[in-house]
């Protein structure tokens, strides 16, 4: 009876009710959306690298090392000598290593010099391998393999020639124009920084830099000839002057990670830092975490604003509804009924807001999923709401009910005081 009255009365005030539901729904969309992006960001963050037991680079802070080696953020202050890498990589407890050489860029995308091992050993998410959607991994020195986003953004295809530039900027004054790389492969999307990376061979990179630093006033023809001979050089043997930025290490047994880390940190040849990627990722996330908490707090505030809108709508309706309450009292409604009527309206509005909000969120996710993925690299799943999200919705519902208590109590007091005296 009371619920029926509440719904009919809301229907009578369609416009205000719809606005109230809309504001609650938008708040719910924001809250759940932020929450979902937060979860996904955390997850995709943690899944940027897997299967790697140690990351080794020149002596620096662990966070710094992680940021430049895995996230391609910032630059290394020092390099690791090639012989140091060889020495550590040939330790008996090491299963495989992947050398990483950073510092160049191509039209704003970072260039990573590495070996074909990268495509066989590198793992992300839960032990997922890199897949090529087109082409093959490196076969020659001047080969390049593009991350999915690079290929998308620049519209590159197989066989295309690209030139890398020194430094990380979008506009660089020292282009290594004489040493173009040929695109031989394009990687599948991973949702990690790999997507935004141009992968080239270490040998190719060496050739570029050797020429660049060595022959200032060289004749361009000679440089081109040199470039063509570079693969032969690379295959011939060690480049004594070569240096890399960092390398990834997989051990035969994970339990050796800590002792290996210690021994790398105390390596006598040069100052090095080894990090356990999992632990350092956690450390970085804690820095980022403040931002995500702020986001959550802001969206919680928006929910409060939405509910406050409902409070205002209900309170302003009360004065004109005192008559209605007197009529209900005259046909035998108890003050408790009048209380329940207003509370029921608040509950109904909040519930509608939550349902509409969830529906809108899912609709938005289904429609906007590919956009989010391509623009932000966030793959937001359209799965059932998690128990955490349901908990949030329960909190919104409870808050709606609690707020409904305010007008309900006021009208209860009125109806006790007014009785059936109808005040105009």
């Amino acid at each position: 009876m009371i619920l029926e009255l509440a719904i009919k009365s809301l229907r009578n005030r369609k416009f205000t009710s719809a606005l109230t539901v809309l504001s609650i729904a938008l708040a719910v969309v924001l809250l759940l959306g932020v929450e979902r992006i937060r979860q996904e960001a955390r997850e995709s963050f943690a899944s940027t690298i897997s299967g790697t037991d140690l990351i080794v680079g020149a002596r620096s802070s662990p966070v710094h090392l992680l940021l430049y080696s895995v996230f391609r953020i910032g630059n290394a202050t020092n390099n690791v000598r090639w012989d140091t890498y060889r020495a550590l990589a040939s330790r008996p407890e090491v299963a495989w290593t992947i050398p990483l050489s950073l510092g160049d860029s191509h039209r704003g995308f970072r260039v990573l010099g590495t070996t074909p091992d990268y495509f066989t050993h590198f793992r992300y998410a839960r032990d997922r391998k890199l897949e090529l959607v087109q082409g093959v991994p490196f076969t020659e020195a001047h080969n390049a393999v593009l991350g999915a986003e690079v290929a998308d953004a620049l519209g590159y295809h197989l066989g295309q020639s690209i030139v890398i530039a020194h430094g990380a900027g979008d506009v660089s004054f020292s282009l290594h124009e004489d040493h173009p790389f040929k695109v031989v492969g394009i990687l599948a999307r991973t949702g990690t920084p790999v997507d935004r990376t141009v992968h080239v061979t270490l040998e190719g990179m060496d050739a570029v830099h050797a020429e660049h630093t060595g022959a200032e006033g060289d004749d361009p023809l000679a440089a081109a000839l040199h470039a063509q001979s570079a693969p032969a050089d690379g295959q011939a043997g060690e480049e004594p002057k070569r240096a890399i930025t960092a390398f990834l290490v997989r051990l035969k047994s994970r339990s050796a990670a800590l002792s290996m880390q210690r021994s790398v940190n105390e390596y006598p040849g040069e100052p090095l830092t080894a990090i356990l990627p999992g632990a350092t990722l956690q450390e970085v996330w804690e820095i980022v975490g403040a931002v995500e908490k702020t986001l959550l707090a802001v969206s919680a505030l928006v929910v409060v604003v939405g509910l406050a809108g409902m409070l205002v709508a209900l309170l302003t309706s009360l004065s004109e509804r005192r008559r209605e309450m007197a009529i209900l009292r005259s046909v035998g409604a108890r003050p408790a009924h009048v209380f329940a009527l207003i509370l029921g309206e608040a509950a109904f509005l909040t519930l509608c807001g939550i349902v509409v909000g969830i529906a809108a969120l899912y609709l938005g996710l289904i429609v906007g999923q590919s956009w989010l993925e391509s623009r932000l690299g966030l793959l937001i799943g359209v799965g059932w709401p998690s128990s955490h999200e349901l908990g949030l919705m329960l909190m919104v519902g409870t808050a709606g009910l609690l707020i409904g208590l305010i007008p309900a109590y006021r009208i209860y007091r009125h109806s006790l005081a007014d009785g059936m005296t109808v005040r105009i």
């Binding site: 229907r11 046909v331 408790a336 059936m420």
Partner: protein, 253 residues
């Protein structure tokens, strides 16, 4: 929901007893603030079954307060208010609300209807809070509502499906009368129901009200300041005469 609460046995006994005394006030005193000066000070007031009583008095003289006492919205500070032999002062708040739902129909001066309910829903509202009146209205509440509305010349399909806010004041009052009468309550209280009506509509409304009260065997307490209506009733009470308070009308709210 009160509609689901089973009826108290006392209410059933009252029915079988067919108490002839519908309203019985005995040395009733009331003020809004627990202490004198009294707004209501009535030595005795009785209304018997089926009786039509006209209660006349200027506005603001405390008539509405008296009606609130009879309807059990407020309780007497002194003395007893009996309705159908039941001492309302001895009942709890919720019991009084249910008693009112079961036995009393109420018509206000104006704006009697709930704007978001249809004409029929407004009439059926009385049965929503009272299992007893629902039972007495017969199985089909809506059909009974339509029947009553027809009796009150409100049966036309064009009227039944109109928004209640689009009805004229006279039509609204007739819908309110149907709501007060549905389920045959023993007592109908009308608080200045005609004061918003034009003079020529007044008597027609009162005639309809009488006819239906008679059909449902309901007693009627009709309050108005308009003395010209008095001859239509069985009995006329001058409020200033039965109420012994020395207060002026203004003070008596």
């Amino acid at each position: 929901m009160p509609a689901l609460v089973p009826e108290s046995t006392a209410a059933v006994e009252l029915d079988s007893a067919q108490s002839e005394q519908i309203v019985d006030l005995d040395r009733v005193r009331f003020s809004w603030h627990a202490t004198p000066p009294w707004v209501i000070d009535i030595e005795a007031l009785r209304v018997s079954r089926g009786e039509r009583v006209f209660l006349r008095g200027p506005s603001g003289s405390g008539k509405s307060t008296l009606l609130s006492l009879v309807a059990g919205v407020v309780t007497a500070r002194e003395g007893t208010v009996r309705v159908l032999g039941r001492d309302l002062g001895a009942l709890g708040g919720a019991e009084r609300d249910r008693f009112r739902a079961d036995h009393i129909g109420f018509i206000f001066q104006m704006f009697n209807l709930i704007p978001y309910l249809s004409v029929v829903e407004n009439v059926a509202l009385s049965c929503g809070f009272s299992q007893r009146r629902k039972a007495r209205a017969g199985g089909d509440i809506d059909a009974e509502a339509v029947r009553l509305l027809e009796h009150l010349d409100m049966g036309g399909a064009n009227l039944l499906h109109r928004q209640v806010t689009d009805l004229s004041v006279g039509q609204q009052q007739r819908v309110a009368a149907a709501r007060a009468l549905i389920g045959a309550p023993e007592l109908v209280i009308a608080d200045e129901p005609t004061s918003a009506l034009d003079a020529d509509l007044r008597e027609a409304f009162i005639d309809l009200l009488f006819r239906e009260c008679e059909r449902e065997r309901s007693a009627l307490i009709f309050v108005s300041h308009d003395a010209s209506l008095a001859p239509l009733f069985d009995r006329t009470l001058e409020f200033s005469r039965i109420n012994a308070t020395g207060t002026t009308p203004r003070e008596a709210q």
